[in-house]
Amino acid sequence: MSQPENPHDRLKGVSDSADAPSPFRRRILQGLSAMPILAVPGISLAQKFPTAKVNTTKLAMTETEVTVGQLHSSTGTMAISETGSIQAEQLAIDQINAMGGILGRKIKVIKEDGASDWPTFAEKSKKLLINDRCATVFGCWTSASRKAVLPVFEKENGLLYYPTFYEGLEQSKNVFYTGQEATQQILYGLDWAKNEKKAKSFFLIGSDYIWPRTSMKIARKHIENFQKGKVVGEEYYPLGSTNFGSLMNKIKLQKPDCIFAAVVGGSNVAFYKALKAAGITGNKQLLLTLSVTEDEMTGVGGENFAGFYSSMKYFQSLDNDNNKKFVAAFKAKYGPKSVIGDVTQAAYLGPWLWKAAVERAGSFDVDKVVAASPGIELKQAPEGYVKLDANHHLWSKSRIAMGQPDATFKVVAESPQLIKPDPFPKGYQ
């Protein structure tokens, strides 16, 4: 999908099964086959989709351009995490534009800085929706920022593609969640620890805010009620905390089979250094985390994380053709040293999912795009095949990978099937 393609060529395409590098071709053909006018080659797509028809809700677009918003933190504490998402979304948008855009319109991006400050996110989302009339917005990273903009998107009937793995318990008509919700990320990991590593006792550790709290709640229920295992400790530390000395003693005292961690941000560095200093290393202790991607690894340092496991849906080292192309394109654009974490890949899916939905709907109107979205499939996603559920979350595989001393990940396990997203899990509340 990284190859620039002329949309006319694709529309003239004989059959969608001939060569299948792009499922979009089929999408377009399916969506548009009802329109006989398409048989006429050489007429620009925009003429077939006059703005009056594809935009009945006064979104910002012309016959050749459609405006979208991008709302992440380019400054402040979250900038280090969100930069990857900004880059991935831009890459996807560039690639879509090189293919001719969406319904004959190039994507124009209005970039706003949420500045790691939730009220600023709310202000900027209002600006993007009310003032700029963006057709969709790709953005947010933390749950707090999503919660801050959510009422705005619902009130103004905007559209948000949200990339981060998160706690679930949410399903908005106006949001598509391209990361994993909590059960997708947690249950497979815990089952893997039980079945493969024979773990029976777990020590739960998290940063003290909504995502780790909810994740650990789900983990505890799963361990106690379904696995019949034991939780020997549950500890939370303030965001940004770097003092894990007493925790090390507790771990040594309890000797859990598995440490299950959701420590975020800067705390990660201190946490893994403290583990190493306490002699709790990968070759002696099983540790499974929900919050270390390639991005965090660069900060933590491969030597501190080597031998520990991370549960994500995507790792940069995934061995498939889609991913190789994606990694190559990403590195070509942002430099060979850039790393791609789970969220970066999820952010990359946003523009593609939107494109597929718009083309299926034949319209940019939010209501129609939302209605067309369930069931959309992406076969060329770097993580592999994904599809969008009616609950606005993605069906995707879960994977376990082991940290390597050179700060990369080696995938050791993968769920055999796509896991159904379940943002309101029964029996886990």
Binding site: D113, A122, Q429
Partner: protein, 407 residues
Amino acid sequence: MTALRDLIKRYQLASVLVLTLLLAVVLPLTLDIFRLNLVGKYLTYAFVAVGLVMVWGYGGVLSLGQGVFFGLGGYAMAMFLKLEASDPITTKIQSTPGIPDFMDWNQLTALPLFWEPFKSLPFTLIAVIAVPTLLAWIISYAMFKRRVGGVYFAIITQAVALILTVLIIGQQGYTGGVNGMTDLKTMLGWDTRTNGAKYILYYVCVALLIGSILLCRWIQTGKAGTLLLAMRDKEDRVRFSGYDVANFRVFTFCLTAALSGIGGALFSLQVGFMSPSFVGIVPSIEMVIFAAVGGRMSLVGAVYGTLLVNAGKTFFSESFPDLWLFLMAALFIGVTMAFPMGLAGLWQDHVVPWWAKRRSEMRKDKAAAARRAAEDDASGAAPEAAAKAPRAAGTPERLGDVAGQRA
């Protein structure tokens, strides 16, 4: 008519009138509702800045924890709105319907006791003012009675800001934690998110702000204002004259806390959102910057400063999302280097003298022309009279100024 003029002159109301005109007429006519709502948001910070003029500019006590009071007022209002937004029908998806969503996420199954009174609007409105004032009283009474001041006071207010942030974030089941309280929709069934409501809230905000400025101006021009200035400059002399310095300071500090609380409540109403990021040290210092940019001796200047800094923030971050922080820094450094007394200082030290000079020059020209005419007309006593005129016109008219006071 003269009585009115005297009143305007005595309380220096001309600048307040200009500000009122700008906020109540010019801005609503020129800005669309989205931008006006933003201005409304900035004006809620102006309550804090106006308070800082009183406590810092006049009282000489720098508080780096004003965000605490803004936040308390805002949280009090947000708690009321959140309870109204969490009726059992809209929250039926939760394990315990009828309590705010974040409580449900944190495994609370009943509304905590201290939330109960916030079901009542009158109680909430009282709490918006009373809670910040009470905390301010405790802090300031403990500090000022022990004659703690200056840098130590600033550090302690910072510590309070930090403590409160940690408390709010840590007790997420009761406060919403890092996320804050989001999705505030209605007040007694009145949808605060519609355009009509935004206009009304904006005007309420402007009216309260102008009211607060007038209140502060009234205090400034009275005996208390003079005493505050005297305490700032020579604390001991005031004390030896038999005044209780601490009480005056406690009063001023509580007043600013109350104003900040009102600002916070208006913020929650207009933005539909309250977050711990207003309580911490950084926003508290930011609010000091607003006052400093505006001029810490000028109530009206503080409002302009707040508007300028926030408009700059919005404009720069919209136009240069990657560079805007540097531009903001340039703005701060530029203002503090070039105009240590802020915008009001710029006005007072440059614009006003320039205007006076121009006026006197104009009169001089007129006088010279008259003289020439007189000379042409007849030679005699006329030049003598004309020569006196420019001198009289040249004296600056700054009689109304109390030392250090700025309009």
